[in-house]
């Protein structure tokens, strides 16, 4: 469904993405792991053209795009088929939960308000936030804000949702409610690419795990193989550091 090939990105002298290839099939849930600074966020942003890659090819539903030379129109079309969930939610602060979800539908897609609100309430129900539809972001906890962020993403009916560390900004006791929403989406067959540090979640929910280090994909595989017998040395170190942390 979505494939990217040989994606390159540098910031000044710093090579952040160094030849990334990634294939996403329908109903895939791909978790991307990797140390901080390895380029995970940049990769997701390039896939949505929030950051322009220096080079790379994207094939989306059979259509090929040059990731460096792409028209505004094509970017808009690709964004229509994708959604993004941000680490720090990025909710519209002057809009209620429901308005956050309907804004894009009404303003960008010119959907009648009533229809947008029906879809919006459905999306909020899905993430367990229907009763707070009238709350402003500052009246919601981090976990609730992120659930609204997810509702905003699913409301546009995307083919794939990109998550950038959706729980990293949350207090530990709020992580669970967000992860269980994402698990629900996985059950429904939503296609997702998720950057995360939640190892148990990645293991349970993903169809494929990818490990990135210094701008490269150094290991990928199905979650059981990946977590029980990682082949790459850096992957082993990384997973061990997490195990040690959990065992305290």
């Amino acid at each position: 469904m979505l494939e990217i090939k040989n994606v390159q990105k540098s910031f000044d002298d710093l090579k952040v993405l160094d030849g990334i290839d990634l294939t996403v099939e329908k109903k895939d849930v791909i978790c991307i792991l990797g140390p901080s600074g390895s380029g995970k966020t940049t990769l997701l942003r390039c896939m949505n053209y929030l950051t322009k890659a220096d080079a790379g090819e994207m094939i989306f539903d059979g259509e090929s795009f040059d990731m460096n030379h792409i028209s505004k129109n094509d970017i808009a079309r690709i964004r229509r088929k994708t959604a993004f969930v941000f680490q720090n939610y990025n909710l519209f602060r002057n809009k209620t939960a429901l308005e956050n979800v309907t804004e894009g539908l009404i303003i960008a897609r010119k959907m009648p308000k009533k229809e947008a609100e029906e879809i919006g309430m459905k999306a909020l129900t899905k993430v367990g936030m229907a009763d707070r539809f009238n709350y402003y972001p500052h009246q919601l906890s981090g976990g609730q804000q992120q659930r609204v962020g997810i509702a905003r993403a699913i409301a546009t009916d995307p083919e794939v949702i990109l998550f950038d560390e959706p729980t990293s900004a949350l207090d530990p006791e709020l992580i669970g409610e967000v992860l269980s929403v994402i698990k629900e989406l996985a059950k429904d067959g939503m296609t997702m690419v998720i950057v995360t540090h939640e190892m148990n979640f990645a293991r349970n929910v993903s169809t494929k795990v990818i490990f990135m280090d210094r701008g490269k994909i150094v290991e990928e595989g199905n979650p059981d193989d990946f977590f029980t017998s990682p082949k790459n040395e850096r992957t082993q170190q990384f997973l061990n550091s997490f195990k040690n942390r959990m065992e305290g």
Partner: protein, 219 residues
């Protein structure tokens, strides 16, 4: 206080106050409104990084903020005629006060826009909205809320600055009080009186500001 002085103060109060209603208030409101429109435009071309307009905007703000208001009034009213451009005093004052307000307020608005977290713009893009749509619906409403208190200060400042229009022959409140002072020799009393009238106008505005801020807060 003797009776003569009382009479002078009472009759001049009405005269000065009415001149405030007739000149100072319209001068302030028209200049401030035009100034705000100019400021919004000046701020947005800078934030949106529109190349030539951005340089132009920076140049404009630099000139206006770097020169005294009274000198700007003199350049436009007394200076331009020697280039063959003659403006009446009132339009000249409106022009200068608008341009002046525009420059200062644009910096206020620009800072307010920049204080809105940029992630919301990206979130707008991700749900398919354009730059203009996201600016108009998401970023600017938040920025204007932030800019409201400092802009109110500018408005109050402008009420007082309009007294400088006296220097280009406009009979606003200050000039009226000068005339009465010259005629009656009651300089101290008259200038204190006009100060009091400015204070009344500004106090009313401050109260209005507080009420509006409360309203904005609730929203």
């Amino acid at each position: 206080m003797n009776e003569r002085l009382m009479d002078i103060l009472i009759s001049s109060f009405g005269e000065i106050f009415m001149q405030g209603i007739k000149i100072t208030i319209p001068l302030t409101i028209i200049s401030f409104t035009l100034g705000l429109i100019l400021a919004l435009f000046t701020a947005i071309v800078q934030v949106a990084n529109i190349r030539i307009l951005k340089s132009l905007a920076r140049f404009y703000v630099w000139i206006i903020r770097g020169t005294p208001l009274i000198v700007q009034l003199f350049v436009i009213f007394y200076g331009l005629p020697s280039l063959g451009i003659i403006l009446d005093a009132f339009p000249a004052a409106i022009l200068v006060f608008s341009i002046n307000t525009g420059a200062y307020a644009s910096e206020t608005i620009r800072a307010a826009i920049e204080s809105v977290p940029k992630g919301q713009l990206e979130a707008g893009y991700c749900v398919g909205m354009s730059y203009v749509q996201t600016m108009r619906r998401i970023i600017l409403p938040q920025a204007l809320k932030t800019a409201f208190p400092p802009l109110s200060n500018s408005l109050i400042g402008l009420v007082k600055d309009t007294s400088l229009a006296a220097s280009i022959t406009i009979t606003e409140m200050f000039q009226v009080s000068q005339r009465i002072a010259a005629r009656t020799y009651e300089t101290f009393a008259l200038y204190c009186e006009v100060a009091l009238i400015y204070l009344i106008f500004c106090t009313v505005l401050t109260k209005l500001q507080t009420i509006c801020e409360k309203k904005l807060q609730i929203e």
